[in-house]
């Protein structure tokens, strides 16, 4: 539900609600890296690397900034470390491979990268993937909502 709220919040380019939706996931759920954190890493990582045109990158930066600020007190130190690295443009290698596969790889590449991530931990990998998926969904929905004239402009 919280992830769904995040998907909805990032589309209308409303910085405040997007940041709030992101913070609502911080430290939420089971695991040494709580599920919400894993999903956020997948979500924001995909946003950073795939940089969908339909989404406003300022919002991503605002969310990430807020999360990095709050992570040390809001979640486990392992998770906080992930946000710290994400802030500095670093994600784990398998995740990077997934992004590369999504940009320029074959379906098989994507599948293989996703399988590798899914194997992480108890559920962390799947949580991360759901974050990536949520971002793709948000981007797609935002793209559909772009006004027709703007959409044309976007293709130029």
């Amino acid at each position: 539900v919280a992830l769904r709220r995040l998907v909805d919040a990032v589309q209308p380019s409303d910085r405040g609600s997007a940041v709030a939706a992101g913070l609502a996931l911080l430290g939420l759920g089971p695991g040494l890296t709580p599920s919400g954190d894993d999903a956020l890493v997948g979500f924001l990582g995909a946003w950073r690397w795939l940089s969908p045109r339909a989404l406003d990158d300022d919002i991503r930066r605002a969310m990430l900034g807020a999360l990095v600020d709050r992570a040390p007190s809001g979640t486990t130190s392992v998770s906080a470390e992930f946000f710290h690295h994400l802030f500095h443009g670093r994600v784990s290698e398998p995740l990077l491979q997934l992004f590369e596969a999504l940009i320029a790889g074959t379906q098989h590449d994507v599948q293989r990268a996703a399988d590798r991530i899914a194997a992480w931990g108890a559920s962390s990998g799947l949580d991360t993937l759901s974050g990536v998926h949520a971002l793709l969904l948000a981007a797609r929905m935002a793209q559909l909502h772009v006004a027709p004239d703007k959409e044309e402009a976007a293709w130029d």
Partner: protein, 391 residues
């Protein structure tokens, strides 16, 4: 009853898989409906309180604390679940054989646990391996460097340091050694014997050892040196060091050297060094032109021939069936555990020895695996963990 009580463990980190298994263990108890096992982040605490947990049960928690909150149908089940949770949390980590705090996270930590160790197994991503290997050498440890992707320049430097200190630097990119009967990396379980080997080819090494074993002969020491030891730049530094050690080792009666074809000058230097050893030496440069016997040195071009020559020197004949695994190979007789007294060899003493029985295998390769444990991605440990059952 819903969530009424919680066990809080301060500053407790457990791997997610273990957290899940604790939850599963509690949920399998009678009368326990479900169990929350979560880190006490603000979001999680809020959720637990929403689910009915009294705020007093989680007062003052921080995100580094672990909360276990079972929901039980009756007070007795709840008590049992809370007790079990305590026990599970106090017990050893579920999937580890040893408590977490005894697993070293650095070479120095490992040395603190095993001050008498004299061999470090390095298995880290390549860019970190040279630094770890250098640390080990500088502390007087022999090195077995499983890692590859170490630059040739670093390899030259490492082996130079090893030479200066009279240590072995097996690798980088070394997959197999058998030191005092202890397989390091990947090695076949073969009988102890009189043949000492030094090899820049792990697979070649294993093949020769297997042929020797089938013919009833065994290994005194098998020293891997890494695939690039006989490159021009490295100059066969460790092959020469290994040769010398085996030359001085009373348990070794014949020496076998194995490599892919080396640089000409290196080949000449190795053969020269071999001639200086007062024991028969069989040299196998794979695929090289067969050359005549030169004094005590026999040059061979194939692994099988190298094994055959070694056996010949020892007065053993090699039958055709020694090359062909017979039916039921996997059910080879017991008693071939490669275990010898640690103090038996003056050449190289390893700090480790296999503690578990090796499983018999049905496969024709008869390979048995020693798993190298690394405690973190960037540090090495001295310990190796033996796979009691490899398949």
């Amino acid at each position: 009853l819903g969530l009424t009580h919680a066990v809080v463990r301060r500053s407790t980190y457990r791997d997610s898989v273990q957290l899940m298994s604790i939850a599963a263990a509690l949920e399998s108890m009678p009368g326990v409906e479900r169990a929350a096992v979560v880190m006490a982040t603000a979001a999680n605490v809020e959720l637990l309180v929403d689910l009915g947990l009294p705020p007093s049960a989680v007062e003052g928690v921080t995100p580094s604390d672990l909360v276990v909150a079972p929901a039980a149908t009756d007070a007795a089940s709840l008590d049992a679940a809370l007790q079990r949770a305590q026990a599970l949390l106090e017990g050893e980590p579920v999937t580890q054989g040893r408590p977490a705090d005894s697993r070293p996270r650095s070479l120095i930590g490992a040395l603190r646990l095993a001050p008498a160790a004299n061999l470090a197994v390095i298995s880290t991503p390549g860019p970190f391996a040279a630094a770890e290997a250098l640390k080990a050498l500088k502390r007087g440890l022999h090195v077995f460097c499983f890692s590859d992707n170490v630059s040739l320049g670093d390899e030259v430097r490492l082996k130079r340091v090893a030479e200066q200190r009279g240590l072995l630097c097996m690798g980088p990119d070394c997959g197999t050694s058998i030191i005092d009967g202890v397989p390091i990396g990947f090695a076949n379980a073969t009988r102890p014997g009189r043949v000492g080997l030094v090899s820049a080819s792990g697979t070649g090494l294993q093949e020769v050892i297997c042929i020797l074993d089938r013919a009833g002969e065994g290994v005194s020491q098998a020293i891997g040196v890494g695939s690039r030891d006989l490159h021009q730049e490295v100059g066969g530094a460790m092959m020469r060091a290994g040769l010398q050690l085996l030359g001085d080792d009373p348990a070794t009666e014949v020496i076998v050297l194995i490599s892919k074809p080396p640089a000409d000058s290196v080949a000449a230097a190795i053969v020269g060094a071999a001639q200086a050893v007062a024991k028969p030496v069989v040299v196998c440069f794979l695929g090289a032109e067969p050359a005549p016997t030169a004094g005590t040195v026999r040059l061979t071009a194939s692994l099988a021939e190298a094994a055959q020559q070694a056996l010949h020197v020892l007065g053993r004949a090699l039958a055709q069936e020694d090359f062909t695994p017979p039916d039921g190979w996997g059910a080879a007789p017991a008693g071939r555990r490669p275990e010898r007294s640690l103090a038996s060899s003056p050449a190289v003493r390893s700090s480790t020895r296999p503690s578990a029985c090796f499983a018999r295998q049905g496969s024709s390769s008869r390979a048995r695996m020693a798993q190298i444990t690394i405690s973190s991605s960037t540090s090495a440990t001295i310990s190796t963990r033996w796979a009691g059952r490899t398949r």
